[in-house]
């Protein structure tokens, strides 16, 4: 599960008010390099909940990866930024698309219901008495 997916998931167990963002508890994660696509990120960024993304990176023990506040778009998509090691766009790309959580769980912020992540696939299924 990439952090991009984490950013899009919400819990709707009974009793949850927003069910978002899910608290990430990662037991095992890996990184896999993928090519950076600035246009894709430009379209994606408005949909990303920055706070949830930052919380997820912190949960993985990467407090330095992203700043608390989202950098302005002009800075992220500045000319040539994609080629600079450690630039905002490179970090965002890395956080969203290159980190794969293999084992762990997602915890509903309202009810503490735990959704397991098994071999990289989050299981959001609810039991009959939870809906």
């Amino acid at each position: 599960m990439r952090l991009l997916t984490h950013n899009m998931l919400a819990s709707n167990v009974r009793g949850a008010t927003t069910g978002y963002p899910l608290k990430l508890e990662a037991a095992k994660w890996v990184t896999k390099e993928v090519e950076l696509n600035a246009d894709f990120l430009r379209g994606l960024l408005p949909k990303i909940d920055w706070r949830a993304l930052v919380a997820a990176t912190r949960a993985l023990g990467l407090p330095e990866l992203l700043p608390e506040e989202q950098p302005p778009e002009e800075e992220i998509f500045a000319e040539g930024a994609a080629d600079v090691e450690g630039s905002a766009i490179r970090r965002i790309h890395h956080a969203l698309l290159e980190i794969h959580v293999q084992e762990g769980s997602l915890v509903c912020p309202d009810t503490s219901r735990c959704f397991p992540i098994d071999k990289g696939i989050p299981n959001m299924m609810l039991h009959e008495d939870e809906v």
Binding site: M1, L4, M8, A10, K119, L126, E128
Partner: protein, 199 residues
């Protein structure tokens, strides 16, 4: 193939901004009884847990390709070519999501695809075949229930459901949740088996 083409012609095609679910469900007997139930929330027509187990089994038993399903998926995806808009992030719900991904061939400008099904075995199977082929959009996998869609509001450009929503007990509810998950002007494309589809 004649029967599959006929079935495919009866595809239910819905655009997000025209989404008034109750208008579309009048031909389905399951949905009729939902209406009679009033509120339509909790009435149980399908045993979803049993359905999940059916799909676990189907994941192991199904063939790589199926002419009928491919015809439906192809017909559904054909609609993407009518849109000028691109849909960078898409969600593909259960049923025949495998063929949808395989037959996409770059249509709809999809760059990120989430494939979701209630059967964990089915999702694993899709991931195996995704690993085997290197083309297609960046794909993410989630186990989840379309009756309780675990997707954040206003986050998707496109939702595709190919032959999956006819198993939901609360079809309007599932469609309302899809609408919530879509961004404004997003597109909802679905094919379901209706009252007389297979006659």
């Amino acid at each position: 193939m004649a029967s599959s083409a006929a079935a495919a012609r009866r595809l239910l095609l819905l655009r997000h901004h025209h989404l008034f679910p109750r208008r579309y469900i009048s031909s389905s007997s399951a949905a009729d009884s939902l209406d009679d139930g009033g509120g339509g929330g909790r009435l149980k027509i399908f045993d979803r847990d049993l359905k999940r187990r059916h799909r676990d089994r189907a994941a192991w038993a199904m063939r790589e390709t199926d002419g009928f399903v491919d015809a439906v998926a192809e017909n559904l995806l054909d609609r993407l070519e009518d849109c000028r808009k691109a849909f960078p992030s898409a969600l593909c719900l259960g049923g025949s999501a495998g063929p949808v991904r395989r037959l996409l061939r770059g249509r709809g400008g999809i760059e990120k695809l989430i494939m979701m099904d209630m059967s964990a075995d089915m999702v694993r199977k899709w991931r195996e075949s995704e690993n085997a082929t290197d083309d297609g959009p960046e794909t993410h996998f989630v186990v989840g229930d379309e009756e309780f869609l675990p997707i954040k509001e206003s986050s998707q450009d496109l939702i595709i459901s190919c032959l999956g929503l006819h198993w939901t007990n609360d079809l309007p509810g599932a469609m309302i949740q899809c609408r919530l998950a879509l961004k404004p002007d997003g597109l909802f494309l679905a094919a379901i088996l209706g009252g007389e589809t297979l006659k």
